[in-house]
């Protein structure tokens, strides 16, 4: 069952240097209970895409008229981008969708206890009494594996370690029972051994709560571990998407292939690392045609720099937008 449909999302920012395109013609869908990984490097627009789902982008952002985000809830469909007042947004923000961020220290208010922050949002989004909210919060803290949850409830964010803070973030995000959890680089600031614990926890929670996750990361290894499907973004466009096995085992788009080649792998220590040539262009100088053509090893002389490639099916539910894939059929 489809939970969220994003269609032709275009987000631009008005800046002093002109109008910058951050996200261009992005379309995807998330089913209930599914983990969709959104991978890309800095400036690829993955965070802007995610924030659009809750209209959290700053005020200088502009959504073009054809952009459409539909949320299918039991109470009926919600057209997210048509919501204007913050009272209306409550259904979406913290209601149907919760978000956890990369740096948990920056996301908790430093002068309010963890418990009070958890209770505050429950009071807004549920009809529980204050006491029930407190009980539910402690229960959630226990559920995410925090020792002495009753004590932590009265502590401040700075008193918790990094891994613990991220667990508390997750507890807070899930206590309102959202249908979709947006996780924006949730493990990037953590050490590997702690990252492994948090990823395990998230996997457990998906199966227990049955919610969907939009998992944003730059780390393909993390994607391989948690995602069901993956969409690869580059300079504001989705260049390839499909089931995680297919995309990682037989990537079609030259950018996905390049990313996989550039990653140091532990089981192939003798193979040299192959960087993707050149640098990511500045958003002010977006290349015309295919956004990747300036760095692409398979660039076609007079096509890639002038026209934009459409998404082509290269397998079951697996598509890539590339002319090279177009002409040779399945390039695997």
């Amino acid at each position: 069952m489809t939970l969220l449909t994003v269609k032709d999302l275009n987000v631009k920012f008005d800046t002093d240097e002109g109008r910058i395109t951050a996200v261009e013609n992005v379309s995807f869908a998330i089913n209930a209970g599914e983990v969709l990984g959104l991978v890309g490097e800095s400036g690829s627009g993955k965070s802007v895409t995610a924030k659009s789902l809750m209209q959290l982008n700053p005020e200088n952002s502009v959504y073009t008229p054809e952009s459409n985000i539909q949320l299918e809830l039991e109470s009926g469909n919600v057209d997210v981008l048509s919501l204007k007042k913050s009272q209306e947004m409550v259904i979406v923000r913290g209601g149907a969708i919760s978000m956890i961020f990369q740096e948990p220290m920056a996301s908790f208010a430093p002068a309010i206890t963890i418990g009070n922050q958890m209770v505050e949002q429950l009071l807004i989004h549920t009809s529980l009494s204050k006491r029930e909210c407190s009980e539910l919060s402690v229960e959630m803290l226990e559920r995410v594996g925090i020792d002495e949850a009753g004590k932590r409830f009265y502590q401040y964010a700075f008193e918790l370690s990094g891994g613990m803070r991220q667990r508390a973030m997750i507890a807070m995000a899930l206590s309102t029972k959202p249908k979709l959890l947006i996780a924006d680089e949730p493990t990037t600031a953590l050490d590997v051994t702690i990252q492994a614990q948090v990823l395990d926890l998230m996997k457990d929670l998906v199966s227990e709560f049955g919610m969907a996750i939009l998992f944003i990361t730059h780390d393909l290894g993390v994607i391989a571990q948690v995602a069901d499907r993956v969409a690869v973004m580059y300079l504001g466009r989705i260049v390839e998407s499909g089931p995680v096995r297919e995309v990682l085992h037989s990537p079609s788009h030259p950018y996905t292939k390049g990313l996989l080649h550039a990653l140091p792998k532990l089981d192939a220590l003798d193979e040299p690392l192959t960087p993707i040539p050149g640098d990511i262009p500045s958003p002010l100088e977006r290349p015309p045609g295919c956004v990747f053509h300036t760095r692409c090893p398979e660039v076609l002389a007079d096509r890639c720099n002038s026209s934009v490639p459409q998404h082509t099916n290269v397998g079951q539910d697996h598509s890539a937008s590339c002319f090279a894939v177009d002409s040779t059929g399945r390039a695997a």
């Binding site: 050490d191 990252q195 395990d200 730059h218 393909l220 290894g221 391989a224 550039a262 140091p264 990511i280």
Partner: protein
Amino acid sequence: MTEKPLIRINTLNVEFPLGRTLFGKPPMLRAVNDVSLDIMPGQFYGLVGESGSGKTTLGRAILRAVPISSGEITFDDSDVNYDVGSLAKKELKNYRKLAQLIFQDPYAALSPRMTVRDIIAEPLEVMGLTQTREETDERVRDIAAKCRLNLEHLRRFPHAFSGGQRQRISIARTLVCNPNFVVADESVAALDVSIQADILNLLQSLQNQLGLTFLFISHDLSVVAHICDHVAVMYLGTLVESAPTRKLFDNPSHPYTKALLSAIPSLDPDDRGNAQKLEGEIPSPANPPPGCKFHTRCPMAEDRCRKEVPQWRELSEDHFAACHLV
């Protein structure tokens, strides 16, 4: 090995006071605890550990950027022999020309108000290594070319560059005074994957061209595995294992090394969840556990581990570990 090590570290301790007390000594935080290691000339030496393991402090101690509490660091190339802990002012100045640091964040490391040429030339001018402007310019152009920056780049300011280019500028600035030992502290951690590979390849080719010795500090085991020929693993201020890269990755001995290796998320979606997971979190370095520091998280810990500090032993040639159970 008949060669003499370039850097020899003997039971090094680095301590920081925790606050101040009116009388007596304040409690001390031991950031580096009895560390001994040798770095050979021309080696790409990797130092791995999680946050709070003391890897950065160790790197800085070698450069004399933090005071050494006890123990010895010697620097010995064929020309000079320094006891790094007790350098006189003049020797320290000379040592700075020989041992240099590449920073983690190329956005913070470069002054936004200086041109790239001035940024790279500054160390030469400060250290008085060149006499004339022509000479300075020549050395700047020379190192810039080695770091794949062109003449056009030298006239611009750092804001015009991407992360990867900035890191190349930062590397050029480090190498312009011809050091023979370089500490690279998380030098690719802030970069995107597609750029990271490029900088790693650059570091490797510069090492070959200029005969450098590197101490490469990183939290990322797969990066270290690719670029280093020797790896040491740190946990809470102590070394737990050290070996040539191949040996360490093929045959890790210390339970912490094993856990670190298996915690790296595999790129294969079919290889999920069979990792050996560590329980708990890293204890605070201000209050480290007694005995083996890893025993609070170790899946194999015994009574002995809680009381006795394990010895640093050679398991096979050049492969050391500190664990009672190996």
